[in-house]
């Protein structure tokens, strides 16, 4: 029975072999792709690091010239932050979250595949800059004006801005998907308070991405527009301010640190109980600490700017916040210690990496408190002290847990147990090498060595310290090589592991080994945080199909959708199977970025149009018309299919997407008000006002369209009328505003133009979405109420966005003294 069911489910869920493997959307496949690709970028970034350390081994060394060195450290930082740390943790989340929460897949499988392709292509785009001999070399932080056209006239900055933005699509996509998956697809009975800690960490991380990445995406768009079309946002001679870039960049950049650290800490909190053989100590404390970290991480960004000359009061506030964030980290550290203390720890390789993590991360956290002290930061900032600090936090905080996690969860993937010897050799090489590299570097920095210098003179006391760091760097690299060899050996020769390799309590260990593509033959009902400890027979029951959706003749990819708080069964989602759409959509999106890069804007426009068409085809894809509306989900639950409900997962996905979109818009408005505070005259002298009459009429017409959409209840004539009103708005506002603007002359005009552009783009998309809903209905998809609600929601959002834009563009200038 269970074997036949297994074969049938495997047929439905598996990723095909050969070329068709590219159509795979299953989270197990996509998660592993993220992890492997991320690790490859880790190796690339590591090679760059070895180049950097080789150059700095001796004073006056001429191994690398300034160009190669500056490109190397720029690409090292970029690779490690954007193409290794964030994506590999996303990979862990994509791979593990459904398994941990008892789901069969993530809720938007095509979106995860699309995200993966965007990430891969973005990385290839960025690193192709090396092949054409014009790599970015203004640092991974891309400070303006160094990265602006006058000082970086080549393609390097464009490669960076476009490649990274392309890849960031994947971060935002994963964040949307993981948020909805965690909230809506937990196993029945898995209330929020019973959720595995990793899911809490990933939920908070996802929300950090939703609020944290848009400022950087916006900043990248603005800088690329400035470079490509000459609209000034950051250029001081035209009303811009280089500090605007820094604010937007660090508004992203500090949450980014926690976007990297929290998933890694989540791995620790999840695997530690297995080694202590008891539940985590202080579950509620840890959850609160994680949430507190999420909030505090938005109050830290200015601590990267203590030396920019900001006022004393801001310095004190951001100093306090930067110190306060040590408290939730302290809570987690002591919760881990308390867990070990209360348990019977088994000293295996993953635990060894956790202890290494503890040492390095705590040290990094303590030096973090040091640089939160403003006067000390004035010395340490941009010196090698900070290089040491950030590597302690990121390498200690993220890479060590990563290795612990790789060793711990490897049996799920390979079905084999890791070796103890190989893992210990890798650990000690990496641990000793790492500390040898970065412990002396604190000293180097305080002896006055700044960051990002490709050469240094003799006689300043830096020679020995640098040489030691270089030796340590190569030792670390040897440790990573030992890890790779160990994994290769394990795959081949490791002993077969039992299903529950570590006698852990969480659901991912209830599956067959290695894990099947469908995860759970039937989706278990859960009533404890560590269900396998509470109910040891759960695994056998789930594999035999005794729980939800365990019917013997499955036909398609079905998954439970449950309520957000209490995880009560609500719907059954039909998930899409393997398809080329995500790859095609990503390739066409790539065409857009490529067109921008080579300055063939017709190609970019074509790519954008085709990508939109591909997304429409994607949205059209899927289940058949007029199918059943309900299903027997097992255990006596009769549930509607997701598409027949008013709040399918897609509606939740739409909401989270709009939050990210609104954050991007808020960042744009922030840019407007920030430049207002630093400008002598706002609007600038000589700006011809557009008047209020036409814009007010335009706004009235636009608001009317929203009312029509609401009252028309989706009827085709009402929708068409609303579309006409929206088009009238675009014409009215354009006629009023565009003649008044000289977008290339001043940051004010450039920002007003951008706010207008944002509104017009959103109105256009709203019209497209409404058209899509009409077409769907005409083709007979009558039951899809959720889709129509998403389109309507977007319409109201577009109108609200312009209402805010109207206040800023047309009303605000009257309120400020000229």
């Amino acid at each position: 029975m269970s074997e036949a069911l297994h074969r049938r489910l495997e047929e439905i869920w598996c990723t095909p072999k050969g070329l068709r493997a590219l159509t795979g959307v299953n989270h197990t496949t996509v998660g592993l792709r993220f992890i492997v690709t991320g690790f490859v970028f880790f190796l690339v970034g590591g090679v760059l690091a070895m180049l950097i350390r080789s150059q700095l081994a001796f004073p006056g060394n001429d191994l690398l010239g300034h160009r190669a060195y500056n490109a190397a450290f720029t690409l090292h930082g970029t690779a490690m932050m954007f193409f290794f740390a964030v994506p590999i943790m996303e990979g862990f989340a994509v791979y593990l979250i459904p398994k941990l929460i008892g789901a069969r897949d993530l809720v938007f499988p095509r979106l995860s595949a699309f995200g993966y392709w965007c990430y891969l292509f973005g990385g290839l785009l960025l690193f192709s800059s090396v092949l054409v001999g014009d790599p970015p070399d203004s640092g991974w932080f891309m400070y303006t004006p160094l990265s602006s056209k006058p000082w970086s006239p080549g393609l390097g900055s464009d490669f960076w801005l476009l490649g990274v933005t392309f890849a960031e699509i994947s971060a935002v996509a994963a964040a949307i998907e993981l948020t909805v998956s965690i909230l809506k697809t937990r196993a029945p009975g898995m209330t929020l308070a019973r959720m595995p800690l990793f899911a809490w960490y990933i939920l908070v991380t996802s929300l950090l991405i939703v609020f944290g990445f848009p400022p950087l995406i916006l900043a990248s768009i603005l800088l690329e527009v400035e470079r490509a079309f000459g609209l000034p946002f950051f250029a001081p001679h035209a009303g811009g301010d280089p500090l605007l870039w820094q604010h937007l960049f660090w508004l992203f950049g500090h949450p980014e640190v926690y976007i990297i650290f929290l998933p890694a800490a989540g791995l620790v909190s999840t695997l530690l109980p297995a080694f202590a053989q008891r539940p985590i100590a202080g579950y509620a404390w840890v959850v609160l600490a994680v949430i507190a970290t999420g909030f505090l991480s938005y109050a830290l960004w200015v601590h990267h700017m203590f030396a920019t000359g900001i006022p004393l009061l801001s310095l004190s506030f951001f100093s306090a916040a930067s110190m306060a964030v040590a408290i939730p980290s302290g809570i987690q550290v002591f919760a881990w210690i308390a867990t070990l203390w209360a348990g019977r720890p088994l000293m295996k390789v993953p635990l060894l990496f956790v202890l290494g993590f503890l040492f390095i991360f705590v040290l990094g956290g303590l030096t973090g408190v040091m640089v939160a002290l403003v006067p000390f930061d004035w010395q340490a900032h941009d010196s090698h002290f900070v290089v040491a600090h950030l590597h302690y936090v990121l390498f200690g905080g993220m890479v060590f847990p990563l290795f612990a996690g790789l060793y711990y969860w490897m049996p799920l993937v390979t079905g084999r147990q890791p070796s103890e010897t190989g893992g210990r050799v890798a650990f000690w090489l990496i641990f000793i090498g790492f500390n040898l590299t970065f412990l002396p570097m604190h000293w180097t920095g305080l002896l006055g060595m700044p960051r990002r210098v490709y050469t240094y003179p003799e006689g300043l006391g830096w020679e020995l310290l640098n040489l030691v760091s270089t030796v340590g760097g190569f030792l670390t690299a040897a440790g990573v090589a030992a890890f790779l060899i160990d994994i290769a050996l394990q795959r081949r020769y490791g002993p077969r592991s039992a299903g529950n390799a570590w006698n852990a309590g969480t659901l991912e260990w209830s599956m067959r080994s290695p894990v099947p593509s469908y995860n759970f033959a039937s989706q278990p009902a859960v009533d404890d945080r560590d269900p396998l400890w509470r109910e040891p027979e759960l695994a056998a029951k789930a594999q035999a199909g005794a729980f939800y959706l365990g019917h013997p003749e499955p036909q398609r990819r079905e998954m439970m959708v449950t309520s957000a708080l209490h995880a009560e069964p609500q719907q059954v989602a039909i998930l899409p199977g393997n398809t080329w759409t995500p790859l095609v959509a990503a390739l066409l999106t790539g065409l857009f970025f490529l067109g921008f890069l080579v300055k063939a804007y017709w190609l970019a426009a074509l790519g954008a149009a085709l990508a939109v068409a591909a997304l429409a085809a994607w949205a059209w894809q899927g289940s058949s018309r007029g199918g059943p509306l309900e299903i027997d989900a097992g255990l006596g639950a009769r549930l509607p299919f997701h598409y027949a409900t008013a709040a399918p997962p897609g509606y939740w996905g739409g909401l989270v997407t709009l939050i990210a979109d609104a954050t991007l818009y808020a960042s744009l408005l922030f840019a407007y008000f920030f430049l207002w505070t630093v400008s002598p005259a706002w609007p600038p002298q000589g700006y011809r006002d557009a008047g209020l009459a036409l814009p007010a009429l335009g706004l009235a017409v636009l608001v009317a369209s929203s009312v029509v959409v609401r009252l028309g209840r989706g009827s085709t004539p009402a929708t068409l009328f609303a579309m006409a009103l929206a088009a009238a708005f675009v014409a009215l506002e354009g006629a009023a505003l565009l003649p008044a603007l000289e977008a290339r002359s001043h940051a004010y005009d450039a920002l007003v133009f951008s706010i207008w552009g944002y509104a017009v783009l959103h109105v256009a998309v709203a019209i497209l979405m409404a058209g899509f809903v009409i077409a769907r209905r005409r083709s007979g998809y009558h039951e899809r109420v959720g889709e129509a609600r998403v389109a309507e929601l977007f319409w109201h959002y577009a109108v609200a966005a312009w209402a805010a834009g109207f206040l800023v563009v047309h009303v605000f200038p009257f309120l400020v003294p000229r």
Binding site: H66, H237, L340
Partner: protein, 324 residues
């Protein structure tokens, strides 16, 4: 010296041996850097103690003898994760905020105001001239009277730079379109090295400068000299300078820069300790710099004068090296 700092300095003595250097933040030569170095020692030892405590607890938790009873988990979390950081951080925050205010406000009574402008990749330094509102320029060297606070108004002509002389004070950014202020005060006469701390492109590594603190009398005498035009011999070098260099460089009394590119004022170039930020200022290096500065500081805006015949090169270098 108060007792705690006395204890600290004794504890730090073995370490302090490795702290010396003309660019070391741990070898402070002025009150601002001294206050920060003290904070570094306090926090450094505190951090080491906390790290030792945490690791001892973690290792004990893993390796303790079986059968020992564990304390309540909540007690461990509250004591270590809440109480300890709240107490330690509150104290540290109070200390930090006070120190920040102190360092910012020091220098309200500055004896002298200088302008420093960051260029890729050199520092323009402007001193008050003889007449009010006038300034005289030098480059890559800042002379100050020892014992007196000197205010520096910092700006940038191109990208963002950061002004950092670790043994005197922390750093502050030079941002185009903005003016930042920092106060330098050296306790004793001496030479201190600094360099740009914000990545600014190709030769960020060689954007160095030297601060020289002198007795107030020596400083006044030197400033008088700086204000005077060059005492230049009417040698062939002067003619060569006018033909080849005055497009960008000024030697007051000989030729005014045509302003093609911003370049260091060379009126008293021979009195500066270094050329191009890092080379010792000798006639040989002067000639080498003129002939092939693109190899000595690749990416530098100055053209290399390889086409100059050896005699002209020598004459030009000799003349420039005479501009005391």
């Amino acid at each position: 010296m108060r007792l705690p700092s006395k204890i600290l300095s004794i504890a730090a003595a073995p370490l302090a041996a490795g702290c010396e250097g003309v660019q070391s933040a741990l070898d402070p030569q002025g009150p601002a850097a001294a206050a920060i170095a003290q904070s570094a020692w306090i926090m450094g030892f505190g951090a080491a103690a906390i790290l030792a405590l945490v690791m001892a607890l973690a290792l004990y938790a893993v390796y303790r003898a079986p059968g020992r009873r564990a304390p309540s988990s909540t007690a461990v979390i509250v004591a270590g994760g809440v109480a300890l950081p709240v107490v330690a951080l509150s104290a540290l925050l109070a200390y930090g905020v006070t120190l920040t205010r102190e360092l910012r406000e020091r220098g309200g009574e500055a004896a002298l105001e200088l302008e420093v402008i960051g260029h890729r990749w050199w520092w323009e330094v402007r001193y008050p001239g003889a007449a009010a509102g006038e300034t005289v320029a030098s480059a890559n060297e800042i002379r100050i009277p020892a014992g007196r606070p000197v205010a520096i108004a910092l700006s940038s002509a191109d990208v963002i730079h950061s002004f950092w002389v670790p043994s005197l004070a922390g750093k502050i950014d030079a941002i185009p379109g903005r003016v930042n202020r920092i106060v330098l005060r050296a306790a004793q006469p001496g030479s201190f090295r600094g360099q740009c701390a914000e990545f600014c492109g190709a030769q960020h590594a060689r954007m160095a400068l030297e601060v020289r603190a002198e007795t107030p009398e020596d400083f006044e005498r030197w400033l008088e000299g700086l204000r005077r035009p060059a005492r230049a011999a009417a040698a062939p070098g002067a003619g060569l300078f006018k033909t080849h260099c005055a497009q960008c460089h000024t030697v007051r009394g000989v030729a005014q820069s045509a302003g093609r590119l911003a370049a260091p004022d060379l009126t008293h170039v021979a009195s500066r300790p270094r050329l191009g930020g890092t080379l010792e200022n000798t006639p040989q290096n002067m000639a080498a710099w003129i002939e092939r500065n693109d190899a000595l500081k690749p990416g530098n805006a100055m053209p290399a004068f390889r086409e100059l015949d050896p005699r002209s090169l020598e004459a030009l270098a000799a003349w420039l090296s005479s501009l005391e």
